[in-house]
Structure formats: structure tokens, C-alpha cells
């Protein structure tokens, strides 16, 4: 929102103060100023000049040769404007002067010298009008600097609208002026209004608020005999500086009022609208707003209507709080009006405006929950401005005011200790009272207790509790003026949650031990990326308002996400791995809430390892996580795949404490092929919520053996289908056996051979071969029973 300091000066005298510093304080105490514009300061030597003669240029149809009285002398000027005529007074830049930041020197135009320039409003920077020269009134003293005639020199600043969302009172200059009054310690002048009591004996307007839920107040007044059509220059300049556009007197006045008081108003042509009905319709219909657009109005949208006789449906004339209708618009020949000054439900206006895709200056203000007390003073102010401009205008109705919803009066009470505790600094009583009074609050202090009455313009939602008063006191006090201090709070040991601890540990191991790369992705599955991989999208709970249907399903596992990452990075290196600790959803719980799970996903890619080696590497990583983070053993076992893209023969479940914590898998040939035909890719997932809940294994220290042990290598050939785990019972519990390790493994004639190293040792003595041999024989025998054959 753009704010004119000239306008502010109407209400609070800021003369002699450092304006830039004051505007800076406004940022720190009220709302953020995004930009400051100095208006009119790029004009120099622009005076009211009188055209005393006009001659056609001999060689040009458009150009004229003028003699212009600049007050000091007569200037020869070549001018191309269409509206030049003798006796016209225009803004005139003398040779050597400046306009729009550009110096005007003597120029030769089509063979004639021009010693100055006559200006349009746009050239002066006071409107967008460049249709011709600005025409000044006939009684304008010739030679007077135009910046003295009108409020052209101004400081205008732009406030960030977002920082005003909770301050309905700041959507007009008067409210902003109140802040400047409080910040500068100067007095806020009352708004000059016309007393509306004098019209009480006139006929009321037929106003019927049928929708008492969405319309809080509707005030109206009828006026006729309006003869002036064009707004005064100063008013038009202010409208332009504040981002509006002059249209005609009545439209300009409603806009001016809104920019001044924050109260949106609407002027209906009295010839078309002479009664008011405020209501919603039962069925949707189309309605043409005054911007000429046909819009769909639904049954939730509050409408302003006028009564149609003969039992017909009322005629809609405006979308309440948003925009008027084309048919009832003020036109240039309108001489009577029905003035609306109303208050509507904020949420309803916002929602209607969102549904219609129509956000206006009025709806923006109503959305903020305006003060309904403002409607009548706004009419009084409107009439004051109108009568100043057009004294012949005549009020023909009494003020008709349907006040449906009053906000309760807010009164708050607190003691000084409350302020001290909340601020942490000492602000003296007098300062507290003065600040509140300057902001329009009622404030008194009795026996150390403050009682504060909240003014109506702050009481619609903004100031409702004691803490809100703290903000008023402290922001005007200035946060820059605070002494800052640390707290005097006792400290307690707080342990990291198991989840956060496990996450960090896992990341460290994956990055530092295995050289994997951590990535981040999205909580939804990306259907488009799944299609590239040839993965059928998983079915799961959906978002109802995703940006694209491809992103609407919440992912069920981390697999497809990480496989996409691998696929997109396949040129990154010959061997790499990625992981993410992210969220996935496994459908809904019994209570209807999403079963959200924190998951670790890992995917490995290799051009140097065989798929089997990569798969076992991933199994090793998962097991290492169990040992390092939880000192517990994670067991893997072949299982049926859960997803169609997992390889049916090489999917394994990760088990601990009898529960499945995750899986690892290779990919079906088609999915693998869509990533890279010449590489191996495996992926796995671990439920981090379950993992971090696992009981941590203790550490019981074992003495290292002091006596040399004996290693025995056995090579066994396993029949088809046999797994290492099937052989384990053959040696489990064997005497002196300290460990079994895999030395070699190869596949021959469809069968796998393993070379196992059995380490035997004793804590008491050096073992002899003779002592170990019977144990080894026992193992061999059991292996044989299990089906494994010793390779000679």
C-alpha cells in the first residue's frame, strides 16, 4: 500500500521532523516500509504559463508555434499537443528548467527554436494522462511555480501489505497517521465530517439486511443534484501517487475515502438503485461486474440487490465487499447517488473473492476484519469532501443504518509486574499510559493496576488479550531500545531422542564407512519417474490438491524414489550409492490416521561388482548398522517380494526381535534394464522408527585368547537351493570353535562351492591338531547329513 506523507500531514503535523528517520521508525514499530519515493523533486522551473498566441507551423500539421507568458518574459515555444489554444494556462518548463529528471534546453524543432516546453500531466508525473497539455484553471497566477500550486512535492512510501494483515486500522491514511502521531509525540487531529443528524427528518432508505450472518452493518445515504464531474487536481494527484486512477468525481471520492479511512464505499446510481437487499441466492447465476467481466456467482456469495417490484426476484447490483455491477455503475451523467458504507464478514469476502478470482482494494480491506463503527463516520467524511467540492449537492434521505453485529467492548486489566515479566526491562508507568493514549486506547492506572479499553478499530480481532497490549507498549518503546539479557533458568540434562540419535549414527556410518551420498526427495511418489523406470505406481493414500496428478500418491516405500535418483545419476561414477532418511506412509491406521513411517532407503550402483557381490555388500551394510548402532544382530532371509519391481529370487527380509524391519532386493530384469543394462543395482529399506526402538545390546567384554589357535579350511560344495544358513547347525556349539569365515566362493556346474575357515582356540592352552581333528570330523559328518559335500 502506498502512503502519501502530504496526506498524513493533513492529520498530524510532522513539520520540522526528519521524515526519513520517522519512516524508518515506522518500519521498526508498525509495519515494513519496502520503498520510499520522492515525488515531484525532479521538477524545476515549472511555472503556470499562459499561451498568448498560437500559429500553425508552416511545414507540420501537428506542430504549433506558441508564444508563452512565463511570468518573467515571453517564450517562443514549438509544441505538438492537440489542445493548444490562446489564453490557455498550462504547466510550462522554462529553458534551463527540469521535468521528469530531464533538463529542458533550447531545442530546434522543424526549423524553429523552442525555449521551453508545455507539459502534460504525465510529464509532470502526477497522472498517466498524456492526451494533451494539462489545463490549469483560468485564474491561476501566471509565473507561479506549479509545485506551489498543488501538492506535487511529496514523499510516498510503500508498506508491505503482508505486514498489515492483522491491522485493519492501517488500511487507510488516517490509521497510519495515528501511528505517526504516537511515534512522533505529536497530536492526531480529528477527521472533519458533516453531522448527519441534520438529515434525520428525511425519508429513510429501504434497506433490508436479510443475511444477518454475513452482513454486519449497512449504512446508506442518498444524495442528488451533483453537478461537478471532475475531481480537484490535488485529489487526483493523491489518488495517482497512491496507486489509484482518477475516473470521475463520485468514483474518485469513494476511492479517496477508502484510501483515507480504510472504509470501502460504493456509489450506486440512484436512478437505478433506490432500495437495498443484502442476501445470498439459492442457486448460482451469472453477474457482470463493472470491469465488464461476466462472473459466476454461487449460493455462498453475499450479494447487494435492489428490490424489483411485482413480486419478481430482487436484482443483484453488487458483489458484497468486492465489486459493483456494470448496470448500476456511476456514469458521467449521474447526478444522484445511493452511497453504501457497509461491513461484511471477513472470511466470507475472502472466500468469495478467491472463488471468483477477483481481488479488489475493497475485498483486500474487508478480509482484514474492518471496524463496523467506521461506516457512519465515513459517510460524514464523504459528505464533507463532496460538499466542499460541490456545495450544491443535496442529501435526500436520512442516514439509514442497519447495524446487525456489534463487537463487544474489550477491556483488559493487568498489573505492572506483568509488563515487567513479559518485557524483561523497566518501562515506567507514565510511558505506558502515554503510549496507549496516543494509540487511541483508553488507559488508566489505579493502585498499580492498569485498565485498558481497546478502541473499536483495534477490537475486531487484533487486540483481545493482555499480551496484545504488551506489543503496543513495546513496539512504540522500540525494540532497539531494549537491554538484552540471558535467562536465569535452571538447566536439566536432556537426552537426545533415540530416533534422532539413530538417524545421525546411521548417516555417519553410511557416509564415512561406505562412502554413500545422502540425498533428499519428496514424500510423494513421482509417477512420471516411475514410468521411466517401468515401475507400476504404488497404491496409497492421496493428496487431494497436488500440483499434478503425477505427485498425488504418498510413497509407500523409499525404493522407487532412490532408484530414480540412481537412474538420473548413472553417469556420476562407475560405483556409487545413495541414501535418504525420509518418510513414507503404509496406508492408514485403525484410527484413520496415516501410518507414517520414517524409513532409511539405500540404493547402490556398480559397473565393477557383480550383482551378487553388490547385493551381499548391501546385506553387509544393513548388518553393520545393526551391530554399530544397536549392537544387535539383524538377520536376513530370502522372502517373497513386496513390490513388483523387486526380483522374486533375490529379495530378502531384514529381521530383528522377531519383526521385519525392512528388506533388500535386486531388480527385475526389465526395471534394471531401464536404469542401466550394463550395471548392477540393488536397493534396500530399513524402518527407522522400528530400528531406533530396538533394544540396544550390551557389551560383555571377552578376554582375548593368549594361546595360538588352529585354523582349518574346509571346501564344501552345496547342492542347488542350499544356503549358508542351512549349514550353520553343522558347527553350532562345536567345542573350541571361535569363528567361521568365508575364504572363497565360486559357482561351478550350477553348484556353489564355499571355502570356509574354522578357527579353533582355547583360553587355557595351545590346542593340538589331535584335539581339534575329532571336532572337525564331527562338523564334516553333520555337513554331509545336511547335504553339503566336502570337496577334495
Amino acid at each position: 500500500m502506498l502512503i502519501s506523507m502530504n496526506w498524513i500531514n493533513d492529520f498530524v503535523d510532522l513539520s520540522g521532523l526528519d521524515l526519513p528517520a520517522l519512516i524508518q521508525r515506522f518500519t521498526l514499530s508498525t509495519a515494513e516500509v519496502e520503498d520510499v519515493f520522492e515525488m515531484g523533486r525532479d521538477l524545476r522551473g515549472v511555472v503556470a504559463g499562459k499561451i498568448i498566441s498560437v500559429e500553425n507551423h508552416p511545414d507540420s500539421k501537428k506542430l504549433h508555434l506558441l508564444k508563452v507568458d512565463g511570468g518573467d518574459k515571453i517564450y517562443d515555444v514549438v509544441c505538438g499537443a492537440p489542445n493548444v489554444r490562446e489564453g490557455l494556462i498550462v504547466p510550462f518548463v522554462k529553458e534551463g528548467g527540469m521535468v521528469g529528471g530531464q533538463e529542458i534546453g533550447m531545442a530546434k524543432l522543424a526549423g524553429y527554436e523552442s525555449h521551453g516546453m508545455c507539459c502534460s500531466e504525465r510529464e509532470l508525473g502526477i497522472s498517466a494522462d498524456h492526451s494533451g497539455l494539462m489545463e490549469l484553471p483560468d485564474d491561476t497566477p501566471v509565473g507561479r511555480d506549479v509545485t506551489e500550486l498543488y501538492g506535487i512535492i511529496d514523499t510516498v512510501f510503500e508498506v508491505d501489505n503482508k505486514s498489515l494483515t492483522n491491522r485493519p486500522d492501517l488500511w487507510g491514511h488516517y490509521g497510519i497517521a495515528r501511528e505517526f502521531a504516537a511515534l512522533s509525540g505529536r497530536e492526531l487531529k480529528p477527521l472533519e465530517t458533516v453531522s448527519l443528524k441534520q438529515f434525520d427528518n428525511l425519508e429513510p432508505i429501504d434497506i433490508d439486511v436479510q443475511d444477518k450472518e454475513l452482513c454486519y452493518r449497512y449504512s446508506g445515504l442518498k444524495v442528488r443534484n451533483i453537478t461537478k464531474k471532475v475531481s480537484p487536481v490535488d485529489m487526483r494527484i493523491r489518488l495517482f501517487y497512491c496507486g489509484s486512477r482518477a475516473i470521475n468525481l463520485l468514483a474518485d471520492l469513494t476511492n479517496y475515502l477508502m484510501l483515507e479511512m480504510g472504509q470501502p464505499m460504493h456509489a450506486f446510481d440512484c436512478a437505478k438503485v433506490d432500495s437495498i437487499r443484502v442476501k445470498r441466492f439459492d442457486a448460482p447465476f451469472t453477474f457482470t461486474t463493472l470491469d465488464g467481466t461476466e462472473r459466476r456467482v454461487d449460493e455462498n456469495t453475499l450479494m447487494i440487490c435492489t428490490k424489483s417490484g411485482n413480486g419478481l426476484e430482487d436484482t443483484p447490483v453488487a458483489v458484497a465487499g468486492i465489486m459493483g455491477g456494470l448496470d448500476s455503475e456511476i456514469e458521467d451523467d449521474t447526478d444522484s447517488l445511493l452511497l453504501e458504507s457497509a461491513n461484511f464478514d471477513a472470511a466470507s469476502v475472502r472466500k468469495s473473492s478467491t472463488r471468483m478470482g477477483l481481488r479488489t482494494d475493497a475485498s483486500m480491506r474487508y478480509e482484514k476484519t474492518l471496524d463496523p463503527e467506521m461506516t457512519v463516520p465515513a459517510i460524514g467524511r464523504f459528505m464533507k469532501l463532496l460538499l466542499d467540492i460541490d456545495p450544491g449537492a443535496q442529501v435526500i434521505s436520512k442516514l439509514t443504518d442497519v447495524y446487525v453485529k456489534h463487537y463487544p467492548k474489550v477491556e483488559l486489566s493487568f498489573d505492572k509486574g506483568y509488563v515487567d515479566r513479559y518485557t524483561g526491562i523497566e518501562i515506567d508507568d507514565g510511558r505506558i499510559i502515554d503510549t496507549l493514549l496516543s494509540l487511541g486506547f483508553e488507559a488508566r492506572q489505579e493502585g498499580g493496576r492498569f485498565t485498558v479499553g481497546v478502541p473499536s478499530w483495534r477490537a475486531t480481532k487484533d487486540v483481545t488479550i493482555k499480551a496484545d497490549i504488551i506489543e503496543e507498549i513495546t513496539r512504540i518503546y522500540g525494540y532497539d531500545n531494549f537491554d538484552i539479557a540471558t535467562t536465569m533458568s535452571p538447566l536439566y540434562p536432556r537426552r537426545r531422542s533415540a530416533g534422532a540419535k539413530a538417524d545421525n549414527f546411521v548417516k555417519d556410518i553410511l557416509v564415512q564407512t561406505y562412502g554413500l551420498h545422502e540425498v533428499h526427495s519428496y514424500i510423494w511418489q513421482d509417477a512420471k519417474k516411475c514410468r521411466i523406470l517401468g515401475i507400476e505406481p504404488e497404491d496409497n493414500i492421496k493428496l487431494i490438491n497436488a500440483q499434478t496428478p503425477d505427485h498425488e500418491v504418498i510413497r509407500r516405500s523409499m525404493g522407487p524414489t532412490l532408484l530414480s535418483v540412481v537412474q538420473e545419476n548413472r553417469a556420476f561414477g562407475a560405483d556409487f550409492g545413495v541414501f535418504e532418511i525420509g518418510r513414507a506412509a503404509e496406508g492408514l491406521n485403525e484410527d484413520g490416521l496415516v501410518n507414517e513411517r520414517k524409513k532409511l532407503g539405500i540404493a547402490l550402483f556398480s559397473r565393477t561388482l557383480e550383482e551378487r557381490e553388490l547385493y551381499l555388500k548391501l546385506a553387509g551394510i544393513m548388518k553393520a548398522l545393526g551391530q554399530s548402532v544397536k549392537r544387535t544382530e539383524l538377520r536376513l532371509a530370502n522372502c517373497e517380494p513386496r513390490f513388483k519391481w523387486q526380483h522374486p529370487r533375490n529379495t530378502a527380509v531384514i529381521m530383528a526381535e522377531g519383526e521385519a524391519l525392512g528388506w533388500i532386493c535386486t531388480l527385475t530384469p526389465s526395471v534394471l534394464g531401464s536404469i542401466d543394462r550394463k550395471a548392477a543395482v540393488v536397493c534396500g529399506q530399513l524402518d527407522m522408527d522400528m530400528f531406533s526402538e530396538l533394544k540396544e545390546g550390551g557389551l560383555s567384554y571377552k578376554e582375548p585368547g593368549r594361546f595360538p589357535g588352529i585354523d582349518i579350511d574346509l571346501s564344501v560344495v552345496m547342492p542347488e537351493g542350499m544356503r549358508f544358513a542351512d549349514m550353520e547347525p553343522a558347527w553350532e556349539g562345536s567345542g573350541y570353535l571361535a569363528g567361521v569365515s568365508l575364504i572363497d566362493s565360486f559357482r561351478q556346474a550350477g553348484r556353489r562351492s564355499l571355502t570356509l575357515r574354522f578357527g579353533f582356540s582355547s583360553l587355557e592352552k595351545t590346542l593340538s591338531k589331535e584335539e581339534v581333528q575329532p571336532i572337525v570330523d564331527g562338523i564334516i559328518e553333520k555337513l554331509g547329513e545336511a547335504g553339503a559335500v566336502l570337496r577334495s
Binding site: 521498526l28 514499530s29 508498525t30 515494513e32 505486514s163 494483515t165 472470511a347 475472502r350 478467491t354 515479566r421 513479559y422 518485557t423 524483561g424 499480551a467 496484545d468 504488551i470 506489543e471 513496539r475 525494540y479 531494549f482 538484552i484 539479557a485 540471558t486 535467562t487 533458568s489 536439566y492 536432556r494 537426552r495 537426545r496 531422542s497 534422532a500 538417524d503 548417516k507 557416509v511 564415512q512 561406505y514 562412502g515 554413500l516 551420498h517 545422502e518 540425498v519 533428499h520 514424500i523 493414500i541 492421496k542 493428496l543 487431494i544 490438491n545 500440483q547 530414480s564 545419476n569 561414477g573 556409487f576 545413495v578 518418510r583 506412509a585 484413520g592 490416521l593 496415516v594 507414517e596
Partner: protein, 342 residues
């Protein structure tokens, strides 16, 4: 006998000189000191000598034996040293400048910065909490004083799920849980992933990280809030940071602030990064709204507290000069593979 001894001594010296390898020296050792070696034979021959002679000759032979042993081991040492030298000289000089492979892994930059922040806050007695990403309307809005008709709840800002739950739009969605879990007094930070339903471009993402913190106790004041923010940000940026507070409106705090820090690029002089204001808006903060405390089971008449929300993603971008926010969720290892633990 004596002559034989001297003769052996001489022949040993002669042969030793010509023994050029460890093997030759070993042969020599066997020839002189072995079971059937010349010196051994001499000693054996002593038993036939008389008692006086035995003593004298014995001394001579033993002296020869010692000399032979000593000379042999000297010679072995010389030969080994020479062999070692030859081996060293013939060895390949390895090229350490060759590419080594085995590149280390990488942490996501969010993890890197998050850990730094966690370290700072834990050193100040804050506990680190983690929270869900899919939450209820109550957690995300109701419990943090965002009323039913607030624009933040509109569909265009929030991702809603079929079952009425939503993707958390801010880390504040965990406030209620944390207040209930710890009660007062309480110091906690809770980093997390947040979601906003908007179109993405270089500076907008629908999925990003925030880190929120709260501190609740008796007499926590605005003065304390400013102190903690300044201290924390000075730690984050590793320099003395100037902060300023402006009024800011957030339903879950009262009063609420926008916190600016002096621009770290220009030092407050004004540059394009700070739009020539010298200040950069960094994090919203404020005194926890009494309604939020109440809903968290904390009595607002007895306790006060402050809360702040740091844009973790934004901090990462500032810290590393990441220009396109989408790089962070891209999974592109050319971008992400660069980040290491700090």
C-alpha cells in the same frame, strides 16, 4: 696344533673375503662351526691333549671360534645391508599424484547445517526433537492458534490428504506435542521438513526445511528472546551479528516479530542482496501466544516463553551460495556430492 689353529684363522679370513652372499657365508659357517666343521673338529681333538696343553690350546681354539663367529655375523650384516641397499635402489618410485579413487561419501547440506545448529543449541541446554511430516489440522493450525478461517488454511497453501490430514506447513505443528511432552520449563528445537502447495522455481520449493525452537519458563521475556537470537545467530555465522526486531504477525506468538540481521554481504552498507537496506529478513519469532501455551498444558499466567523459526533451507542457500533451491531436492550428486561434514 697351534699352527693348525693359525692356519685355520688365515684360511677363514681368506674365504670370508670371497664369500659374497648370505648363502656363501652360511656355507662358511657350516664349514667352520658346523658339527663337522674345522673349528669343531679342533675342539674335538683336544681330548687327546695333555692337561696343561689342553688349557692353553683350548683358549686358542675358543678365541678362534669367537673370532669366526663375530666375523661371520659382521659379514652377514654387511651383505644384508648391501642387499637392502640394492633392493631399495631398484625399487619403483610410486606416483602419488595418480588419481586415487575411493571418493568419500557426502552429507546432504541440510544435514550439515542442521547439525551445526543442533550443536549450538544443545550446548545451551536445548533438547532436539523430531516430528512427523503428516499431521492433523489440530496440530498444524488449531493448537497453534490459527483459527478456522485463517488464510493459511486455504487449499492453495496447504497439501491436504484424502483422510483430512495434511502435510505440515511449518515446524510449529510440533509445538503442542513438545509442550505436552516436556511441560514447563522447556527448551527444545525441532528441525523438520515442511510443505507448501505452490509452484516451484529457483527460489520456491514445495518441500523445504525449517528449524523451530521454543523456550518456556517463569519470567522468559522479550529481552531474553533478543539475547538468545543474537547469541545463536552470532554462533551460526561465526561473527558478531547485529539484529533488529520489527513487529510481525504470526498467530502463534504475541507479540510477534520479524527478525532482521545486518547484511553479511555488505556489512550493512547496502547492496543488492539486502535491497540496499543493510538488513536481511531472517527469521520470524515472538513470545508464545498464551493460547498456545494453554493448549500445550502450560499455564500462561505462570509461564511465558519465546519461539522462533529458522528457515533451514534458506540458511543453507545463504551459507553455500546455492542459487537454485531445487538443487537441494534434486538428488543430483554433482550438486550434493560436494558437501562434507563440518
Amino acid at each position: 696344533m697351534k699352527e693348525r689353529i693359525e692356519g685355520l684363522r688365515e684360511s677363514f679370513e681368506r674365504e670370508l673375503k670371497s664369500a659374497g652372499s648370505s648363502e656363501a657365508v652360511e656355507k662358511l659357517r657350516v664349514a667352520y662351526l658346523g658339527r663337522k666343521g674345522s673349528v669343531t673338529e679342533l675342539l674335538k681333538g683336544l681330548k687327546d691333549a695333555g692337561a696343561n696343553e689342553k688349557k692353553e690350546l683350548g683358549q686358542h681354539i675358543n678365541s678362534l671360534k669367537k673370532t669366526v663367529e663375530q666375523r661371520l655375523s659382521e659379514r652377514v650384516g654387511e651383505i644384508k645391508a648391501a642387499e637392502e641397499q640394492r633392493e631399495i635402489e631398484s625399487a619403483e618410485r610410486y606416483d602419488v599424484t595418480l588419481p586415487t579413487g575411493g571418493d568419500p561419501g557426502s552429507y546432504h547440506p541440510i544435514t550439515v547445517v542442521q547439525r551445526q545448529l543442533e550443536e549450538i543449541f544443545t550446548s545451551m541446554g536445548f533438547v532436539v526433537e523430531d516430528y512427523k511430516e503428516i499431521v492433523t489440522d489440530y496440530e498444524c493450525f488449531e493448537a497453534v492458534n490459527i483459527p478456522k478461517d485463517h488464510p493459511a488454511r486455504d487449499m492453495q497453501d496447504t497439501y491436504y490428504l484424502e483422510n483430512g490430514q495434511l502435510l505440515k506447513t511449518h515446524t510449529s505443528a510440533a509445538q503442542n506435542f513438545i509442550l505436552r511432552k516436556y511441560g514447563a520449563p522447556c527448551r527444545a528445537i525441532f528441525p523438520g521438513r515442511c510443505f507448501r502447495n505452490e509452484a516451484t522455481d529457483a527460489s520456491h520449493e514445495n518441500t523445504f526445511f525449517q528449524m523451530e525452537g521454543i523456550m518456556v519458563d517463569k519470567n522468559i521475556s522479550i529481552s531474553n528472546l533478543i539475547y538468545f537470537m543474537k547469541t545463536m545467530l552470532s554462533e551460526v555465522f561465526q561473527r558478531d551479528v547485529k539484529v533488529r526486531l520489527r513487529p510481525g504477525f504470526f498467530p502463534f506468538v504475541e507479540p510477534g516479530f520479524e527478525l532482521d540481521i545486518n547484511c553479511l554481504i555488505c556489512g550493512g552498507e547496502g547492496c543488492s542482496t539486502c535491497h540496499h537496506s543493510g538488513w536481511v529478513e531472517l527469521c520470524p519469532c515472538g513470545m508464545i501466544h498464551p493460547n498456545v501455551l494453554k493448549m500445550g498444558g502450560v499455564d500462561p499466567e505462570e509461564y511465558t516463553g519465546f519461539a522462533f523459526g529458522l528457515g533451514l533451507t534458506r540458511l543453507v542457500m545463504m551459507k553455500y551460495g546455492v542459487k537454485d533451491i531445487r538443487d537441494l531436492n534434486s538428488g543430483n550428486l554433482k550438486a550434493l556430492g560436494q558437501f562434507r561434514h563440518e
